[in-house]
């Protein structure tokens, strides 16, 4: 699974992209955030307050309770501030 990070989420994680293989019991977006948070201090800082982090599964917005399903590209980022 390809995971992308943007803005301050990327700054904290320390990379913009990584490939991970979470265990079977990581079934939802919230599960994945909790599991990623355990990968190191940068990840832990990025997901310290999961309510501030938004997610997209294969480039569509997904809520924390959404199942990961067959998503191949998962992205985490702050609420958007364009325009």
């Amino acid at each position: 699974m390809r995971v992308l990070y943007f803005a301050w989420v990327r700054d904290r994680v320390g990379t913009g992209e990584e490939t991970v293989e979470p265990p079977q019991d990581v079934a939802t977006v919230a599960d994945l955030m909790a599991w990623l948070a355990g990968r190191g201090p940068g990840h832990a800082a990025a997901f310290a307050d999961p309510g501030r982090v938004r997610c997209a599964l294969d480039q569509d917005y997904a809520t924390a309770d959404a199942p990961l399903g067959t998503a191949r590209e998962v992205a985490f980022f702050p609420p958007v501030t364009g325009g």
């Binding site: 943007f6 917005y61 364009g82 325009g83």
Partner: protein
């Protein structure tokens, strides 16, 4: 049409090129967003921020940005079938204060569809298009916080019959 680009654009020239002068279109509504010199944190003294800001950097999510903007254009055309044409240009990368960031244009025979679609497009873009603003100052970068008022502005376009 949707354009996502790093290059600056000329708003006057873009609006002129967008304007259909065949006699078919009677109304063109546009919205132009520019880099301000005083973004700052909520409640922060604008003068203090102004002294600080050098440039603004817009990061985006290549691929998802185009996808979301196309969805936005489709949604506007579905809501206002009278729309004759739509244009959204959004930049990414580093910009100086006063430079254009985003341009939204909507054209129709009568004004209501053009005005409403233009406001809808910028309101939804603000909460849906995956862009993130960073203020670059002498002390380093600072990510701009999302504003609750943007969610409120987008929410007024939510119809019970759709999402």
């Amino acid at each position: 049409m949707i354009r996502v680009q790093a290059e600056p654009f000329d708003p006057g020239a873009e609006i002129a090129a967008f304007t259909d002068t065949s006699g078919r279109v009677g109304a063109v509504a546009t919205f132009l967003g520019l880099v301000r010199d005083h973004q700052g944190a909520p409640g922060e003294d604008p003068a203090r921020v102004q002294a600080r800001i050098q440039t603004m950097t817009l990061e985006h999510y290549p691929g998802m940005t185009e996808r979301q903007l196309r969805t936005l254009e489709d949604e506007a055309r579905a809501r206002w079938p009278a729309l004759a044409d739509v244009l959204v240009i959004h930049r990414h990368g580093r910009m100086a204060p006063g430079e254009p960031i985003v341009l939204v244009c909507a054209a129709s025979a009568h004004r209501a569809a053009a005005l409403d679609a233009c406001a809808f497009l910028i309101d939804w873009l603000k909460t849906r298009a995956p862009f993130w603003k960073r203020e670059d100052t002498a002390e380093g970068g600072r990510w701009v916080e999302a504003r609750d008022s943007d969610d409120a502005a987008a929410a007024r376009w939510t119809r019970p019959e759709s999402d």
